[in-house]
């Protein structure tokens, strides 16, 4: 690929999902991340009880992310052909796991009142 710049990448992603959906997804990811940072700063502490549930959601997120990519690309585990494939697969799983953990942690923190369950 020639001139793989940030602008090119954004243009490609806009085409992939449609401009509206792409920026909606970016906004959703940004909002969840900001809310996560917000609750951390608001509570000025990591709640390990919430973090436990968040950790439990990680495998679910990992499997869901891999399943999603396999489904939209009509492929499966038998198509993994080399080292880079394993790395990409693990990266997708890790992304799904971290995403799920942040989402679950943030959701719990926003639902429960601050300071009620510091353990």
């Amino acid at each position: 690929m020639k001139d793989l710049t940030l602008t090119t990448l954004i243009a490609v992603f806009e085409e992939m999902f449609g401009r509206t959906l792409f920026w909606a997804l970016v906004a959703a990811a940004a909002i969840v991340t900001l809310l996560y940072l917000y609750v951390l700063i608001r509570d000025r502490a990591v709640s390990w009880r919430k973090f436990l549930l968040a950790q439990l959601s990680m495998p679910v997120g990992a499997v869901a992310a891999v399943w999603f990519v396999f489904t939209i690309t009509r492929s499966g585990l038998r198509d993994i052909g080399g080292a880079i494939d394993v790395i990409v697969l693990l990266a997708i799983a890790a992304g799904g796991a971290v995403g799920a953990a942040i989402l679950v942690y943030t959701a719990q923190s926003l639902i429960s009142r601050p300071g009620t369950d510091q353990g």
Partner: protein, 436 residues
């Protein structure tokens, strides 16, 4: 247990703002625009012409840009193989030509009927005369179906005949023929023409996909697959040809070298091939036909073709590094019609863009352009549903991988499939808009 964080709400807001600012500054500055009253005519609103119109419309102020193409539909041709393998519907490759063009570019929905490079004018099929200062020939090529005796495009999808190069609809009809054949079994023939052709990997892809389809259905044992190669290789790049030979061996696909399809007998289901030892006939239950390919008549009649190369095909006589016509310096070629070795692909079209843009704009500004094209082309060579080889090469048969050491070009990989399946059309569309 708790761990206080040494951060404040204000600090957090400041951090977010800094992040946004950083994101905003990473976008590169747009290239400078040039004031000019030049009249630029682009022949063809396919991948090459459309992308180029979008690019120069941004760079030129005051210029008259006219694009000539009689086809209302824009076809995403890299999708045809996926349609022919039943992975995508025909609509996957169809959009409207007019939807991709920028404002300020004048579309004439007619074909070019004549080019006069001396008087610098183009006449359309509707009789409109367009005088130009600069001409971009991006007409693409024509598929010479008449060269295959006994074949007619009405037969596509019937009698075991497939021809997915024809159109998105023909690709869908070709899938129906392949689907029926792989249910039943028999002898399948694939192959490629002896002329230059668009996407030389496509005949191999459809062969691999047919084999994969039969394997998944459990009918592979009832099927013989022969691949008719036009010479003694399976691909123009020797190292890739060898790899394909090994994969064919692995998949039980039998190559028939020096076999060029010249006729079919749909009733008797016999295909006639020209070989160095004379004509030979092979029986088939399923055949995939890709005809010889040539420059459009209008280009050949204008005297713009090479006189001593590809004389039966008529590709435009251009410098292989700058794509500028060797006799008419105000004419450039983009895409399939260019008379350069290799690379009648969308990937090459993408790389032609900045080179022709550089030379054209430099010429308008009275300067010399500096960009050069090294013959780059790429072929995500699908070897089965879920795997592909990301093959990229140049004029000199060198492999030029975009991700050396990370994505090996001669390995069947899932990531290469992901790129073809997910990112390729998006990249193509971004290119059409002049953004990639």
């Amino acid at each position: 247990m708790s761990r206080p964080l040494a951060a404040s709400r204000r600090g957090f807001l400041g951090l977010s703002a800094a992040g946004l600012a950083a994101l905003a500054t990473t976008a590169p500055a747009r290239a400078q625009t040039i004031r000019s009253t030049a009249r630029i005519v682009i022949l063809g609103a396919g991948a090459g012409g459309t992308a180029f119109a979008n690019r120069i419309a941004r760079r030129l102020e005051g210029a008259t840009i006219t694009i000539v193409d009689g086809r209302k539909e824009h076809w995403y041709q890299p999708g045809f193989t996926l349609i022919a393998a039943g992975l995508k519907p025909a609509s996957y490759s169809v959009s409207q030509t007019a939807d991709w063009l920028p404002e300020g570019v004048n579309l004439i929905a007619e074909h070019a009927a004549a080019i006069d490079p001396v008087a610098k004018s183009v006449t359309t099929t509707g009789g409109t005369r367009l005088d130009y200062d600069y001409l971009i020939v991006a007409t693409g090529l024509v598929l010479d179906w008449a060269a295959i005796e006994g074949f007619s495009t009405d037969l596509i999808g019937k009698e075991g005949i497939s021809a997915h190069y024809h159109s998105p609809e023909a690709a869908a009809a070709s899938f129906r023929a392949l689907d029926a054949f792989t249910d039943k079994g028999g002898k399948a023939l694939f192959g490629r023409p002896a002329t230059e052709m668009k996407c030389a990997g496509a005949p191999l892809k459809i062969t691999f996909l047919a084999e994969d389809m039969a394997s998944r259905k459990g009918t592979r044992g009832k099927i013989d697959i022969t691949y008719a190669a036009q010479n003694k290789t399976l691909f123009g790049v020797p190292i890739v040809s060898e790899k394909v030979r090994m994969l064919f061996g692995d998949r039980g696909i039998v190559p028939a070298y020096d076999h060029v399809l010249k006729a079919i007998d749909p009733g008797a289901r016999l295909a006639t091939y020209a070989t160095p030892d004379g004509d030979t006939q092979l029986p088939y239950d399923f055949i995939n036909i890709i005809p010889p390919q040539r420059a459009p008549q209008v280009v050949r009649e204008a005297g713009l073709s090479w006189a001593d190369k590809w004389t039966d095909q008529g590709w435009l006589e251009v410098d292989m590094k700058t794509l500028r016509h060797l006799r008419y310096p105000e004419i450039f070629a983009i895409g399939d019609v260019a008379g350069v070795p290799k690379g009648k692909t969308a990937a090459s079209v993408k790389w032609h863009q900045p080179v022709v843009e550089d030379h054209l704009l430099a010429q308008i500004a009275g300067k010399e352009g500096t960009a050069t094209f090294n013959g780059y082309t790429s072929c995500p060579l699908i070897t089965r549903v879920g795997r592909a080889m990301l093959i990229e090469f140049d004029y000199n048969n060198n492999l030029v991988p975009s991700f050396p050491g990370i994505i090996p070009p001669l390995e069947e990989l899932w990531i290469s499939w992901l790129m073809k399946e997910v990112a390729l059309k998006a990249t193509y569309n971004a290119m059409l808009r002049g953004d990639a």
